[in-house]
Amino acid sequence: MRKIRFGLILLILLGIINIFPLWIIFKQAITSEKESLLWPPTFLPHSVNFENIFMFFKTGETLKALGLSLFVSLGTGLISMVVGSLSGWAMAREPKVGSKVSMFLIIARMFPMVAIAIPLAVIFIKIGLYNHPYGIGLIFAHSILVLPFVSLILYSTFKSIPVALEEQAQIDGCSLIGTFLKVTLPLAAPGIASSFIIAFILSWNEFGYSLLLQVTHRNLSPLLYYYTTFGSTGIASALSLIMILPAVFILLFFQRNIASESLASFIK
């Protein structure tokens, strides 16, 4: 009994430590920059002031970054969802393909970001996708990161759908593609939707490729890095708050579904 109580105290302490960064971001975003720079620092807001958040929505650079981040994340989500579900289905239905490709995907996830991003930047400079104003090059780069992840998730999703249903449809005269569209896809829809959300979040949070590929047309994460290193505390806090929002939204609405899906993929 005493042991459990000790563990509980440890957990509560850790919980407080883990909430602290979130609280700091929130506090600095809703107070003036002047207050954030006070010495000694304050842990509770003295006066609430939305100047940082107004600044975020008044500055062209931040708004453009928000739009770019949204566009890139949606694009990455779409590419990974389509390519990932095709390959996930094939992997689940043909065990030989499945084991070979999943090994290939695990190796693909091991490459360090710089070893791909730097040559990719050199190649993109040649073909005009480097620092692209709509982030087309970045969508391709993010998909490298997200596709192995999403394909493995969808592999397990399609594996959980009984083959017997598809065979039945084929006996009844449905073609392979027809079976996929009319039988498998509707059954896999929740899994595919959550893989889209995971792809969106992974792309939204990604930092390294964005930093290397979007040098002046920055999306949110390199812009935040830029503001942080140049010491614009106020707008950096507001930007951080905006960047947290999708994760919070998804945690609240899709908690159970996502947790189990991503858990399965981590264990792979």
Partner: protein, 279 residues
């Protein structure tokens, strides 16, 4: 046979995509790292040693993973065991533990920078307690090296925790009860019954974490800049973005990639052996 080919074709978009955007750039990097002024040379690799940041970068790239992975494994296993025993509010605690991992990486690092900077919150607490404030992120100091490892461990312990917790949930409760009935103390029960059953999960999390820890990039970059706590990844980024030297940057990053692939292939062999023993 027709069906088999059909499924194989469905995987093609994925394979072609990764071939074009992953394998091709990697081989291209290998190609340009051996090239200078149109001639083939080892010069890019040799010149790396002339840069004063390279040796510290390699050194840090070994020290940081060692510190952060050992912390993560111990903390992750301990937290998973504790949470697995708790009956009330387990979900709440899981979310609390996962918070640093769920936050966008760059936001978490920005917050840590606010916390550990010279006029940051930790120093505020130290002054409040009547202590001297510390220069946590002093470039090149041992303290900043340890701090970068600590922040990395803080952010990624949840991942280890999640994997171990899932494995713990799969261990039948009867096993532990039986050991208790046979007279094992709780400690013996953990070390001789539970821990051996966790070995595949521990190796899995070790693989995941080692791969990530050796390519650590954002944490040292955001906390201390390129020159504060250099790592191989940030060093390659520095060569590319500040000197515009693609060949040397590719040489450095290729070395890192080779190192990671070697380490992970050793781990994968271990993993397979562990799984065989389990069966």
């Amino acid at each position: 046979v027709r069906q088999k080919n059909f499924y194989r074709n469905l995987v093609l978009p994925l394979v072609i995509y990764l071939g074009a955007f992953l394998a091709y750039p990697f081989l291209f990097a290998l190609f340009i790292s051996f090239q200078r002024d149109g001639a083939y040379t080892l010069g890019n690799f040799i010149d790396l040693f002339d840069n004063p940041l390279f040796i510290p970068a390699v050194r840090n790239n070994i020290i940081i993973p060692l510190i952060s992975i050992s912390l993560e494994m111990i903390l992750g296993i301990a937290l998973a065991v504790i949470v697995n025993r708790i009956k009330k509010h387990a979900t709440l605690f899981i979310v609390l533990i996962m918070l640093p991992f769920i936050m966008p990486n760059i936001v978490f690092l920005t917050a840590s920078r606010f916390i550990f900077s010279q006029h940051g919150y930790i120093n505020g607490v130290l002054v409040f307690l009547g202590l001297e404030p510390l220069y946590w992120l002093e470039p090149g100091s041992a303290l900043s090296l340890v701090l970068v490892s600590l922040v990395d461990a803080w952010r990624l312990t949840p991942l280890v925790f999640l994997i171990i917790l899932a494995a713990l949930k799969g261990i039948p409760k009867e096993l532990e009860d039986q050991a208790m009935v046979d007279g094992a103390s709780p400690r013996q029960c953990f070390f001789f019954v539970i821990l051996p059953m966790l070995i595949p999960a521990i190796i899995a999390s070790l693989v995941l974490r080692s791969v990530d820890a050796f390519r650590i990039f954002a944490t040292p970059l955001v906390l201390s800049g390129v020159e504060g706590v250099p790592c191989v990844s940030t060093f390659a980024y520095h060569l590319w973005s500040d000197y515009n030297n693609a060949s040397m940057a590719c040489a450095a990053s290729t070395i890192l990639a080779m190192l990671i692939l070697t380490i992970s292939s050793i781990y994968l062999r271990l993993w397979k052996r562990a799984e065989r023993i389990q069966i």
